[in-house]
Amino acid sequence: MAVVVIILVVLGVSARETEFSLTTLFQAGNAEAVTRFVRGLWPPETNVKFLRTIFGLMVETIEISLVGTALAVLVAFPLSLLAVRQRGEEFSRERLGTARWVLRWSLYYLARAFLNLFRGIPELVWALIFVTAVGLGPLPGVLALAVHSTGILGKLYAEMFESVDQRLVEMVRSTGATEMQVLFFARLPLSLPVFLSYTLFRWECNMRAATVLGFVGAGGIGTQLMISMKLFRYNEVMTLILAILILIALVDILGQFLRTRVLDAPGKCLR
């Protein structure tokens, strides 16, 4: 109860401070202004040359985001194992002894601190670091995306693996499985749908990532969108938004397809 009250008070103060007001939003005339703005986006730019450029940018975007995401998954996956809070009395202090217990938790906090660092250092700063190392181009962009995404995926994976039905974890552990095996036999199969959901979503985010890529001269569709927007070329913006929506819809459909298979596949699915 107290928690709810605190939340409401903090929210109230914040709302006032940010001048939040729905009346402002729904004032007469606003609808008109917005309509005018949105109408300005129409029609999308359909100049063949521009469309061809966009197609190239889409391919580039997919490539960069794919490599960045794949790298992140590869690193985040093992790292997340350290960042999982081990539940179960095997890991209790009385059981492990203080020294080992402290070691275990130090590792845990260390892993989480690293993940926080990866996320907390802004992508642009990562980009700068990688530029000093490898120069301009798509590579520093890919690496910046990868490091940042590692921080995100590592944390989310860890919390997802941690939330898995503990009774099944106990069951697998009872066979003498190592934690890595618990991951493969229980945590991953049990959270596969959410795992896919997260991972594909991160891929989608990396597709939309605009700022970093333009920053290091990597290109991609998001960069072009920011440029077109800054130049008030709203018809181009419209086309680019459509292109992004297509990419997002494709990832969404791929996700649904995979998740349906994982969740509902009748029998013999993994044979």
């Binding site: 642009l124 700068l128 000093t132 301009l136 001269g217 920011m226």
Partner: protein
């Protein structure tokens, strides 16, 4: 010098106007430079200065095209010096100007009228889109950001011009050459935007090289710029020709930037 012989010249560009498709647009320039120097040239186009400066500071770029302000800022990060700058097609000198513009129907007539108004700068690092408008505001007794209602960084001159034309902001600072080009192109309607101030002449955008680069090669690069006479290429480069510049030419910018807080002392 001291660094090994370069096998490839890496050139960084920050599009100071429409940055899209810049790489393709600059292709003739790349070819020209490559033929002149008899070595491969690679272009990198980023939408922001920061990464380009850092790339130069760590020896990942050899040559870059900076604004005056960016150059003096970059000097603090990287060992670099300017070699040439372009001769402007409008002023026929190496100098150009910054403008403060406002919507045509606005009551604002002078810079001093801008107190308490919303003002748009381009990129914060832009010489003509940020530093010189600040100098003009400062001379009119307006402190940034205290004396303004709101400060917006649009990220580019085109954006600033359009923001003013659309009356999203009360005024903005732009580079004159870009403004006129926009008018020429019909992007900006001269009836909707008025110029309320014009800055002192600004020293042109320098082509900068890093100290580590072979002196011989730098001389050949400089010569390549000075020798440029193909009208098509010059048009592309928005220049009439090129002239040598030195660090001293940017002293005023450096001092003013320090005074106005855009550069650390």
């Amino acid at each position: 010098s001291g660094q090994a012989q370069e096998t490839k010249l890496r050139v960084g560009l920050i599009p100071n106007q429409s940055p899209d498709k810049v790489k393709a647009q600059y292709e003739p320039f790349r070819k020209y430079l490559s033929e002149k120097l008899n070595m491969p040239v690679e272009l990198f186009v980023a939408v922001d200065y920061t990464a380009v400066v850092e790339a130069m500071a760590s020896g990942k770029l050899d040559v870059a095209y900076f604004g005056g302000l960016t150059y003096v800022q970059a000097k603090q990060r990287a060992e670099i010096y300017p070699s040439v700058t372009e001769i402007d097609r409008y002023s026929h000198t190496t100098k150009y100007h910054s403008l403060i513009i406002a919507p045509a129907n606005s009551p604002v007539e002078t810079v001093a009228d801008l107190k308490g108004k919303t003002f748009a700068f381009g990129d914060i690092n832009s010489t003509s889109g940020s530093l010189y408008p600040r100098i003009m505001l400062d001379r009119a007794g307006i402190k940034v950001p205290e004396d303004l209602k709101q400060v917006i960084y649009t990220g580019g001159h085109d954006a600033t011009a359009l923001a003013v034309q659309n009356q999203t902001v009360d005024a903005g600072g732009v580079e004159d050459r870009i403004f006129y080009t926009l008018v020429e192109q019909g992007v900006i309607d001269p009836d909707k935007v008025k110029i309320i101030a014009r800055s002192d002449p600004i020293e042109g955008y320098p082509w900068v090289v890093r100290v580590g680069l072979d002196k011989d090669l730098v001389e050949r690069i400089t010569q390549a710029f000075l020798d440029m006479d193909d009208p098509e290429l010059l048009k592309l480069m928005r220049a009439e020709g090129y002239a040598r510049v030195s660090d001293a030419d940017y002293l005023y910018i450096e001092e003013e930037a320090q005074r106005l807080g855009l550069l650390r002392k």
